[in-house]
Symmetry: C2
Amino acid sequence: MNRTQLRHQDVLDEHAHSWSPDEARTRFRSGVSGPTAGCAAGHTQANLISVPADWAYEMLLFCQRNPKPCPVLDVTDAGSWTTVLAPGADLRTDLPRYRVWEHGELVEEPTDVLAHWRDDLVSFLIGCSFTFEWALAEAGVPLRHLEQGRNVSMYVTNRQCRPAGRLHGPMVVSMRPVPPEHLAAAIRESSLLPAVHGSPVHCGAPDVLGIEDLTRPDFGDPVDAGPDDIPVFWACGVTPQAAVMASRPPFAITHAPGQMFITDARDEQYRVA
Amino acid sequence: MNRTQLRHQDVLDEHAHSWSPDEARTRFRSGVSGPTAGCAAGHTQANLISVPADWAYEMLLFCQRNPKPCPVLDVTDAGSWTTVLAPGADLRTDLPRYRVWEHGELVEEPTDVLAHWRDDLVSFLIGCSFTFEWALAEAGVPLRHLEQGRNVSMYVTNRQCRPAGRLHGPMVVSMRPVPPEHLAAAIRESSLLPAVHGSPVHCGAPDVLGIEDLTRPDFGDPVDAGPDDIPVFWACGVTPQAAVMASRPPFAITHAPGQMFITDARDEQYRVA
């Protein structure tokens, strides 16, 4: 087991679900990294994308025009590393792992970005489907990736987002294999949480989304499906990273896929009814 | 009956509910004006605010930070008067009545803004509670303002929006008197349409919102309540106008309160579940 795998185990230990958001962030700040699915039960997780202020309007407009993959939970003022979603947290250190991008190329994957921070960075916190997994679990929907101790599978699709100025790119989806008898509950429960991607964008044949091989995700881990499981695809907050790759802004910082920012917000507050 | 009242009657005639969106816009383009509550059944209505590009990021951020009053349905490119919500429509002519603002002061209320248009205007179309009135009516909730042939009552509240850069101001609400036996349906049905303000922000005593006298609305008409009716307050898309008054950008164009842009979109497509 290499160091990265060991660290995955660190995060996905049997106690991770009962961590408080502050406990989780404290661990990540100390250098622990790994996927956050299953951490800090009932607390809203968020994707991060930070871009120079010169790109902030286009990023916000891109999110507004593509609300399924990019539901915005908070936007910081330029240079600020704090958010109303978790007072006291530091966006530069409190995620498990980051990605640093230059002209659309991934240049580094550090566990903090103190050395990369800039005064002109505007940070977007975007809803994450890990948030609705608690609602799915409570409704009895099995979550294969958690059962298998893996990150969720994510795929770049053939669906183009609606562009905004210089920003364009394909929609990314996360996939969960769902047994047919649990499909209605999975759709119903996620639909009631539109701020964290809401209802699925597709169920069934992956080729409709241009996905050729479910066992080879573009991000995250492959997840074993049960024999009758139906693949269910939700729009994913990694979509802004795909836009960064396609649109090549001079600089950006994001979370590493599946390694989210854990907020103090409660999933319930994003529930519609 | 003066000319304005006569025109109100034009809009609120017995056939207005069955107009197609295009029919409605064609009438408004020809100069007919008046409140659009009850027009073009089942089609999504929108508030308009157009600001110079220099203010667009702050307006979009203001909307993101205040999603209950300011749910964004579309944002145009600078200078464009078209929207994906109604291909072929002209945002400069197709609303019943506009307001033109200079440095936070209302300077004119024309029925088109062809003479005021600027190449740097970015237009925001924001969800309107008239949209969920169809769902309320179908659920049996009486709509007093429609029964009385009036515009809805709107009030400036004592709740400050979360500011965004130079933009700040109070939340505006619309109020509908609801009989107690219909309160649950009114809350349930509106909750399922978060893109058009969603659930109420308050029910009952108006002084909680700093509203002293329900018979003297800040915008729209006073509406007579039944003896047991409970006043129900929803966040209102006139809120960006209140922000314009408070924040005084050099120039802005908005709709006149209650005189909305009627889109081709179907209310159903904004329904969560």
